[in-house]
């Protein structure tokens, strides 16, 4: 067993995300995770979506940004030993198709998740005494008044998920850390 016997690719890890069917398998994997979580009897749909988002972000963070090196010995004397999989992809070239896809997917996922946990509220035309308690208007059109405090817990979950997905986005955007 030797890396690169059939091809002169020094580090096959760089090409894995570009292979045929990888993106589809990734989406199907998220779908499978979602279906497994849906089968938990006491979880409601918004909670399941939030859990999907969280577990997906955690797994992607561990696999792409924490584990370093390659699971096999490469013939280039270990140039990639200190690089995470995200840094190894396409030999460090930024903004390739796979990187864009992997950046966009968690963002799309968190938007779907939020749309299901906190559907957009219609802004109600109230009389002036109630206007003072308007509070902060967030980007999905709802307002955070005392009525909506009960939904704070779900807000928190959504915010966690968003933070997790934006980590991969920032890693891509900061040129220093990613390009090596």
């Amino acid at each position: 067993m030797n890396v690169g016997t059939a091809h002169s690719e020094v580090n096959p890890n760089t090409r894995v995300m570009n292979s045929r069917g990888m993106w589809l398998s990734y989406i199907l994997g998220i779908g499978l995770l979602h279906v497994i979580l849906l089968s938990i009897p006491f979880a409601s749909v918004p909670v399941v979506w939030t859990l999907t988002n969280l577990i997906h972000n955690l797994c992607m963070y561990l696999l792409l940004h924490t584990v370093k090196g390659t699971p096999f010995e490469t013939p280039d004397q270990g140039k990639a030993r200190l690089l995470t999989h995200w840094e190894q992809m396409d030999y460090g070239v930024q903004f390739t198709a796979s990187r864009k896809f992997l950046t966009i997917t968690p963002i799309v996922l968190v938007h779907i998740c939020s749309a299901i946990t906190r559907p957009v509220l219609v802004f109600e035309e109230e009389s002036s005494p109630k206007r003072s308690s308007r509070g902060i208007r967030d980007i999905w059109g709802g307002t955070r008044t005392r009525r909506n405090v009960a939904k704070e817990r779900q807000d928190g979950c959504v915010c966690f998920g968003f933070a997790g997905s934006s980590m991969s986005f920032m890693t891509a955007a900061l040129p220093g850390t990613a390009a090596r």
């Binding site: 067993m1 030797n2 890396v3 690169g4 016997t5 059939a6 091809h7 002169s8 690719e9 020094v10 580090n11 096959p12 760089t14 090409r15 894995v16 292979s19 045929r20 069917g21 990888m22 589809l24 398998s25 199907l28 994997g29 584990v67 370093k68 090196g69 390659t70 699971p71 096999f72 010995e73 013939p75 280039d76 270990g78 030993r81 396409d90 030999y91 070239v93 390739t96």
Partner: protein, 532 residues
């Protein structure tokens, strides 16, 4: 038959387009690399995913001493030393490779001809250690040895002459070519090789891998450019890296990609200084052993002449196996061997010996005699091996007075066409050119790699299987090497067994969607490891 005619007429149409383009193909060039079915790709990733999860689980169990650990560890006293290897670097070996390790390194105990004897071995701890039962599995049909013309035999004129020479010269040479290891048999062999290939002069070396890795550094250096194919062998890659030249990789057999690289190189020159390159060397192989594809030699020579580059052709698998007279890929296309600057090949595959040669102009070979590492520092070829090559080469050329060589070359071509046609009809996905004796059959899934190897051995057929990371992640394959020594009965038996195992493991993936061949303009960029 309908599919066959449609497929062949489509490819003949493409190759007549080629004819129009370069006017040098005198026969249809039929190559196909059918695309992976999407469902199979998804299942393959799922397979690797499950194996990875179980790998992590087993590592966890081994770490907490719940499961016994068979891996070599440092001793108790060395616990605080820097570890010998990173745990993660060994992940693939201990969790995936070890599971199916019994398909490789099988000890054989007879000459690797058309049939071979294997030593039977079992393992009680899941392939961590092997025990020999003492029995020998006799007459296993050998579909894995590079024995294209059937010269791997221990009887016959080649073996007799080799034995005779051993009585006269002994087995070892005890010196390098440059010192006192230059036998008269070496000189005769070199003249014979030059005559065989139709060039001025040739030089032989003791080891095929070392021929590439030690001679490319002698030909190019810093300030030169090497354009090498994506799927070149490890020896060519090593030689290119050792030379210190800039290496640029073009897509496999893709002439548009090669032309683009040539034009960019000539227009822009060296990376920072923009000085012109000292030399541009195009490195290609005759037959690529893992894909079974044949290089588009007429187009490469056309490009080489147009852009004034040099060509290094590695005919390791194609010498003796292609061409109407067995003279390799140059003979197959009917081209002039003087067009190729450096002809390289090995004697391991078609001549039943070991070693390699480099052939070309007289000045080149004289230069290599004093500047090649292999000539100056490595021991020269052993006399019985030299004699084996001389006898087999004379046989192929017909100089020994018989037609055995000619018959074998023709038999190999017939066997190849027959085997490939039958496998394709059965519905397997086969890569490569219709005329190449190397037949890679796709398996795709990691579990099927092990299963195929074992099932074939149970039915007395020995095959070679290859998986990730030696191949790309979804393209694991079994590679058959057809030989002129295989009789039609052997091939029929092998084909029926392959069909049976293919039904058992559901390997018949082909949907007759032949991918249009690689003569598409390259519009996607290849990301490569740039280190200047």
């Amino acid at each position: 038959e309908f599919w066959d005619t449609e497929f062949s007429s489509e490819s003949i149409l493409k190759s007549t387009m080629n004819d129009f383009i370069c006017g040098q193909y005198n026969r249809p060039f039929l190559e196909s690399f059918e695309e992976t079915p999407m469902l199979v790709a998804v299942l393959t990733y799922m397979g690797y995913g499950i194996l990875t999860i179980f790998g992590y689980l087993r590592d966890f169990l081994r770490h907490w001493k719940i499961e016994r650990c068979h891996i070599a560890r440092e001793k108790e006293e060395q616990r605080d030393f820097v570890p010998l290897y990173q745990d993660f670097e060994n992940f693939y070996t201990r969790n995936l490779y070890m599971r199916i390790r019994d398909n490789w390194n099988r000890p054989i105990c007879s000459v690797p001809g058309a049939k071979v004897d294997l030593m039977e071995r079992t393992s009680r701890d899941y392939n961590w250690t092997f025990e020999y039962t003492g029995r020998v599995v006799l007459d296993v049909i050998n579909l894995g040895s590079y024995n294209y013309l059937g010269f791997a035999e221990n009887t016959g004129p080649c073996a007799d002459s080799a034995a005779e020479i051993t009585m006269k010269y002994g087995v070892g040479v005890a010196s390098t070519r440059q010192e006192i290891g230059n036998l008269d048999r070496h000189e005769e062999l070199e003249k014979l090789v030059a005559k065989f290939l139709g060039v001025e002069s040739a030089m032989v070396f003791g080891m095929g891998f070392a021929t590439n890795s030690m001679n490319i550094p002698a030909l190019t250096g810093k300030g030169c450019l090497i354009l090498s194919d994506e799927l070149n062998h490890a020896s060519l890659v090593l030689g290119a890296r050792l030379s210190g030249s800039t290496i640029r990789v073009f897509k496999h057999n893709n002439m548009q990609s090669l032309e683009k690289l040539l034009r960019d190189a000539i227009v822009h020159g060296q990376p920072r200084t923009h000085r012109p390159w000292k030399k541009i060397l195009i490195v290609v192989e005759g037959i690529y052993s893992m894909e079974g594809s044949i290089v588009r030699l007429p187009e490469v020579i056309d490009l080489k002449k147009r852009y004034r580059a040099y060509l290094y052709l590695d005919e390791a698998h194609s010498i003796g196996a292609l061409g109407s007279r067995g003279r390799g890929v140059v003979d197959y296309f009917g081209l002039d061997p003087c067009d190729v600057d450096v002809l390289m090949g090995t004697f391991t595959k078609s001549f039943g010996a070991a070693g390699g040669y480099i052939a070309g102009k007289w000045e080149l070979i004289e230069y290599l005699r004093s500047h090649s590492h292999s000539a100056v520092y490595a021991t020269s070829m052993s006399p019985p091996v030299v004699e084996q090559i001389i006898t087999s080469m004379k046989c192929i050329m017909g100089e020994d007075g018989t037609t055995i060589g000619c018959d074998r070359v023709r038999k190999l071509a017939e066997n190849t066409v027959y085997f490939r046609r039958r496998l394709r009809e059965m519905g397997f996905i086969i890569y490569g050119n219709e005329d190449s004796p190397v037949v890679p059959m796709m398996l795709y899934m990691p579990a099927k790699i092990g299963a195929f190897g074992r099932e074939m051995l149970k039915r007395n057929i020995g095959v070679v299987v290859v998986g990730f990371p030696a191949t790309p992640i979804i393209e694991s394959r079994a590679r058959f090497c057809i030989s002129a020594a295989h009789t039609k009965e052997m091939l029929d038996r092998a084909l029926s067994v392959i069909s049976e195992v293919g039904d058992l493991l559901q390997l018949k993936y082909s949907r007759r969607r032949i991918q249009p061949s690689l003569s598409l303009p390259c519009d996607d960029i290849v990301f490569e490891d740039i280190d200047d």
